[in-house]
Each structure stands twice: as C-alpha cells, then as structure tokens.
C-alpha cells in the first residue's frame, strides 16, 4: 500500500503570535516554525502502518516556499520515504491546496491520503474534505482510529458528543484528530538519514492548478483584550462574586 501524507509548515504552537502593526497579518519573521501538530499525527500514523507492514511507501507532500523542505525533512526523519515539494510563494487557500493534492493523487495513485484535520494557523479545517470532493472519494475526518482491511478503511471519528465509525472504500482521504496517536520524536540517526532521502520539486503550473486566492484578507487585528481581573481572598468571596457580580452560577 502506498500513502500520501500532506503536511503544512506553521508557526510553532508554543509561540505567542503577534499581529503586525499595519494589520496585514501576523509576524512570521524570526519566529519558530514547525510542522502543524495535526499533520505530525498524520505522519506518525503513516509510519506506524509502515512499521506494521500494511504500508510499503510513504510519500510526504508540502506546498510553499523553499523553507517547507525543512518540514518535509522532519516527516522523512519520522519515517516517510520520499518528498514532494510544491514550490510556490504567497498565500495558499485550502481549495488551492486540495486541487494541488488532487493533481498529485492522479499522478501517484495512493491507496489513501492522510493529513491533519486542521492547520493551527488559519484554523480552516477544509483541505481533507475538499480533496475528497475533488477526487470523488470518501472522507474520514477527525479520525481517532484507523483500521485498514480488504480495500476498506474503517475510521472512528471524533464528533461532538462522542465517536462515530464509518467504513470507506479505498482510496479515501483521512484527516487526523488528536487522539489518533502520539507522534514520536525523530532520532538523530534518522534525522541524518532523512537528509539523503529524495525531494522532488513541482510547481502549481506543472500540476495544471490555478492557485489564485478567492478570499481577500482586509485586515488582521488583535482580539479584544480581557480586562484585568481581581484576586479574591478565599472561597467564600469567590463564590459570592460568581453568584452576585458575574452571575454565572
């Protein structure tokens, strides 16, 4: 079985994001970047399936400027076999990314595609679903468990209030939620090995995809600042404030 894993380079989840003074976006210069945490879970799942012998090849793909090759290397250090870097500058919307991935699906014919359910920068939660639509294949979003057998994927999905299990004919598109697994840290020898693994470069033009944005960001602002609170002396005062001042209990 061959699988395609899509990963995105985002601001590290531990960094406090700062809105630019001119309100055009958030500050990304000299800010630590990492693989989107949900995508890391997707890579881990792929690697575990390979270790279990279910999967024979893991192709990792990312789109963006030259820096995304670092993210591809991270996935290869975790265990992905080869990389595809879709080289393009500028903002890519989920619909554009889904079209790029659809083009790669046509070329690579993977048995399934897996990615994180959402990127922690734009918080869109769209790409997997959109890829499913464009490829006319089923989707297993917000996956917390994945079982493969007989040309089908049984996906347990995290839904509001519990879990739901669906059965999908392969090829399918899977999006990973938090509970699917806990990603490993790449070992130093594996990081060294990843440096020798191949990364192919393609452009949206070569894939025949128009990535022109459909949305225009007019401005990006800081959220309203919370007013400074007070320190209460004891439980009695706290409960009194919650009952009579805030009126929330």
């Amino acid at each position: 079985m061959k699988i395609l894993v899509a990963v995105k380079r985002v601001i590290d989840f531990n960094v406090k994001v700062r809105v630019k003074a001119d309100q055009t976006g958030v500050e990304t210069t000299n800010v630590k970047m990492s693989m989107n945490p949900f995508d890391e879970i997707a890579v881990e799942e792929a690697v575990r399936l390979k270790e279990a012998g279910t999967v024979s090849e893991i192709v990792v793909v990312s789109a963006g400027g030259p820096q995304v090759q670092e993210t591809i290397r991270t996935a290869m250090a975790m265990g992905a076999d080869r990389g595809i870097h879709i080289n393009c500058e500028g903002e890519l919307e989920p619909l554009a990314v889904a079209k790029l991935l659809k083009a790669l699906m046509d070329r690579e014919s993977p048995d399934f595609v897996i990615m994180g359910k959402q990127a922690i920068d734009d918080d869109c939660n769209q790409t997997g679903q959109m890829l499913g639509a464009l490829a006319n294949r089923p989707q297993g979003t917000f996956a917390s468990k994945l079982v493969l057998s007989d040309g089908k994927a049984e996906v347990t999905r995290e839904i509001d209030g519990g879990l739901e299990t669906v059965s999908l004919d392969l090829p399918a598109v899977i999006s990973a939620d938090l509970r699917l697994n806990e990603p490993r840290y790449a070992s130093l020898p594996n990081i060294m090995k990843a440096k020798k693994k191949p990364i192919e470069q393609v452009t949206p033009e070569e894939l025949g995809v128009d990535v022109t944005p459909r949305l225009e960001t007019l401005k990006v602002e800081e959220p309203p600042v919370r007013a400074a609170g007070i320190i209460v002396a004891d439980v009695d005062e706290l409960l009194d404030k919650l009952q009579n001042e805030a009126k929330v209990i």
Binding site: N125, G132, T165, A172, L239
Partner: protein, 309 residues
C-alpha cells in the same frame, strides 16, 4: 439574495447550533431557507418550520441522509446551491465535515467559523485559535460559510410558520457507510457547548485527584477539561484537552484549577465570559487573563467549594 442554511438535527429535533446559524443567516438580509436532510425526519422538519426567521424548509427524507454522511449530504447541497448567494452551516463537527466538501464540489472557497457578518461578502473569523481576528472578503458567487455558534445569539425556536417542501434526494455516493456511533454516556455536558467548564492541570498531581475536579463540576453541572500538561502526564484522556491543539471552549464560566496558563491553553479559553484561576503560584500566567483569581492550595479549595456549592 437568498440564503440556505444546512440544519443540524437528529431527525426528530433541530440541534440548537442551527438556531445560532439562522441568526447569522438573517444578518445577511434576504430570505432564509433551511435544508433538512435526514431519514424519517418529518418531526425535525416541522420543528424547523417553526423557527423565527425561516421562510421555507426543504426536507430531503432519504435513507442516504440517515447518518449525515458527508459524501451524500454535500452532493445534495451542491445540487441545490444554484439558487442561493450564501450557504451556511453551524461550525460543529457536523458542519465542518460536510461544508468544505460541498464548497469544493461548487469550486467555491469556504469561510470557516465566522464570528461576525460585516456585509454580504465580508466576514470576521478567528485565526491562530483566536489570537488574531481576520476580516475577509469573498469574491466567489456563492459564499459557503460555517458559523461559530457562541458568536451569535440563538433565534427563537418558535414563532415562525414556514412552509415545508419535500424534495428528492440526490442519491447515495456508494463508497462510504455508517458503522456505528458511541456517544459519551457521561451525565456531564459536552466540553465545547457547556456553559460551565472546570479544568484541571498538572497541579492535580495524579489521575485520582481529578475526582476533586469532578466533584466541583457535578455541583455546577459543568463539563470537565484539562490542560495539555495534565493530559501528557496521563491524568485524563486526550479528549479532555482544552487549548489550541485540543478543544476550543467558550463557556459562561471557565475555572482553571492548578493550570499555569501556557499560551496554547489560553488560546483555547479566551472567549470564555468569565475566567476563574485557582493556583498556589501567584506568578502563574493564568492570573493575567482571569477575572477572578484565588491564590491558594487547590487541595484545600476544591473540597471546600464542593461543600459550599
């Protein structure tokens, strides 16, 4: 302008998230049509027709929609979309699963999780887990949108008298099927929609000590959450995690107990109306965002609170 709202429902009743979505739809101006796709869902369609602000209900009663499979519902939305300028759904796991698929079938972008309508093509939405708010304008002919329920009041569930029109289904894609469902049996409310959330952090020190949190939560009818540190320490399962990479919550009252307030946790709670922090370390960053802070030992505070509530 005509707006289509994809209703979340359980075939018998309409999910409250739909009422919040209809409020956002009404702000766009124009007539609001509700699409109810389900199986034996006549009762839900009747309920939808009574919602204030709804002009028409389209009811697609078909086995293909019995479990809201995205493959089938998105295709139905696509076949109906031509008559509408906007298509909205709640930004719940129901809407998040179906709407991007419908958007891609239409070759439209989706605007996820809006918190304000600025105009017919301009919307505000949180990015970076709410650490920044983007105002975006769409150039697409059909705006496909999911709506964050906590940002819009619920419209009244009664007071309307819309006509219900039965429509044909658009078929079963045939490559996905429902296997089963396991809804959490907890008597406690669900984290993302709870009005009160009590969360514990590393300060709890052990899985057993989370019972102290649960006792307070039960008194308040609250959901129980946890910081990433508590989850990583194995005190509670992953689905308790509140924060940027866990669940984003926006309750009326959020109580953070023994949680220092890492950035990624704060990102998940900042839309709460009132935040209470209980921590013995007065330097903990959580106090900077708390409306009420109590610097004290949680092992004394929690039992006392349980007793006094």
């Amino acid at each position: 302008m005509a707006v289509l709202v994809l209703a979340e429902h359980d075939h018998a009743t309409v999910h409250p998230a739909t009422l919040h979505t209809i409020t956002a739809a009404a702000q766009l101006g124009g007539e609001v049509t509700v699409l109810l796709a389900g199986e034996n869902c006549g009762a839900a369609a009747t309920a939808a027709a009574k919602i204030t602000g709804v002009a028409k209900v389209l009811c697609a009663d078909n086995a293909a929609y019995g479990h809201h499979l995205a493959e089938n519902v998105a295709w139905l939305v696509k076949t109906l979309a031509g008559e509408y300028s906007h298509i909205l759904a709640p930004a719940t796991t129901f809407g998040k699963n179906i709407m991007p698929r419908a958007a891609a079938l239409l070759d439209m972008a989706q605007i996820s999780d809006i918190i304000a309508v600025e105009g017919p093509d301009t919307f505000r939405r949180p990015i970076y887990a709410g650490n920044a708010i983007a105002t975006v304008r769409s150039s697409d002919p059909i705006k496909v949108i999911t709506v964050r329920g906590t940002a819009f009041e619920a419209t009244a569930a009664e007071g309307g008298s819309a006509a219900v029109e039965t429509i044909e289904g658009a078929g079963d894609a045939g490559y996905s099927g429902f296997v089963g469902q396991e809804l959490s049996k907890s008597d406690r409310p669900e984290l993302t929609s709870a009005q009160v959330v009590v969360s514990g952090g590393r300060g709890l020190q052990s899985p057993e000590n989370f019972k102290l949190i649960e006792a307070v939560a039960d008194k308040l009818g609250a959901a129980v959450g946890a910081s990433r540190a508590a989850v990583d320490s194995g005190f509670v399962p992953n689905d308790f995690q509140v924060g940027q990479t866990g669940k984003i919550v926006a309750p009326d009252l959020y109580m953070a107990v023994g949680i220092s307030g890492a950035i990624q946790h704060l990102a998940g709670i900042k839309d709460s109306k009132v935040i209470v922090a209980i921590n013995k370390d007065e330097e903990a960053p959580i106090f900077q965002v708390a409306d009420y802070g109590l610097v004290a030992d949680l092992f004394e505070v929690l039992p006392e609170m349980t007793e006094k509530l």
